[in-house]
Symmetry: C2
Subunit: 191 residues, 2 copies
DNA sequence: CGACCTCCTGTTAGTCACTAACATGTTAGC
DNA sequence: GCTAACATGTTAGTGACTAACAGGAGGTCG
């Protein structure tokens, strides 16, 4: 049971190479103009290997590993706080960290995602998945109707902030936009 | 220049026939298991004609004509009311009318849309478009950041209600769910 | 009436994402 | 070494969608 990491490491490398080449090509010549064949070739594998690593072409960009971060950040918040406040704080923390570490990469990625029709199409699934995770992080057991609604509204708010960020081409500060957005959601009810 | 209506009428008929056959086949044998070729054949045309009427296979189901209704309903509300109240009222009115007239058809349609991955994928585009319309109906000129956020949150709320409706398989009353959902959005801030 | 002219449609032949079946080489454990 | 497991490649599909061209049916104008 030596568990030689050799093998796994090689797989991880191939996976990363595919992702890098995909991003590069998507940015260089556009998403639609890039074929899976080309990505695979650029990474030195066949197109079948690509599909063994990513179920669809879109997944080469949309391997969202932020969700666990968010869940942890929510659960770290005292349960006595209002759900929306917990989500707001968690988002500011989680995305804030990524933002601080990797601002430009995040911008490129979000822009590509929001501006490419084929990638936008996947956003719904992502939103639903993230919403379920958020809602699940807020309570024990199955989240109820009300919890899902609040999680939805918060996600919509966050998305609006991201859209605004991309619309300003990253010139605004994302954490600031997020705070503004959640303030609107809150103050919207106390006019 | 007479351009007799029967020409347009024939086109409208073909279009409707395509939509009907598409819906029928999608429900009978599933969305993915139905090919455009089959839809076209069932409607008595070629697959090229199908694509001349609908840009994609999904559009045969997703010809959403509710939006103008919603816009009108919003604008009919006094501008002094809070944006979210206006949207809530408009949605209850607009969707309520469709619900009263065509409950079963609405359920089938919403269920098909929410449960078919390929159709869900299109929902993001629909949401964005509807949000822009809602936001535009709330104010004069270009909606600002805050308005878009509120419109987003309201749409997310409405969507949650529709999902709940489908989840209960239509056993709940949709208008009631919508009222509940908006109440959560409102009361969520006054715990 | 006959010669255009304009839509609408069908035919054909492609591209590309994605899948399934099978073959091959490479490694792990005995 | 031998064998089983596994990563990868090859090949041959299916199906959505597109482009190029051909024909036909209605209306117009000489």
């Amino acid at each position: 049971m030596a568990e030689p990491h050799w093998r796994e490491r090689k797989k991880a490398q191939t996976r990363q190479r595919l992702q890098e080449q995909a991003s590069r090509l998507f940015i260089e010549r556009g998403y639609d103009a890039t074929t899976v064949e080309q990505i695979a070739a650029a990474a030195g594998v066949s197109h079948m290997t690509f599909f063994r690593y990513f179920p669809t072409k879109e997944d080469a960009v949309l391997s969202d590993s932020y969700d666990p971060l968010l869940v942890a950040a929510i659960q770290a918040r005292p349960r006595s706080e209002h759900p929306v406040v917990r989500i707001h704080a968690a988002v500011r923390e989680g995305l804030g960290a990524i933002y601080a570490a990797d601002r430009e990469a995040l911008l490129v990625r979000v822009r590509l995602t929001l501006r490419t029709p084929a990638l936008r199409a996947r956003l719904w699934e992502n939103q639903v998945a993230t919403r379920e995770l958020l809602a699940g992080a807020l309570v024990d057991g199955e989240p109820d109707f009300a919890t899902r609604i609040l999680a939805s509204a918060c996600l919509a708010t966050l998305t609006s902030a991201l859209e605004e960020w991309v619309a300003t081409d990253g010139s605004a500060e994302l954490p600031h936009l997020i705070d503004d957005a959640f303030a609107v959601l809150r103050e919207g009810w106390r006019p």
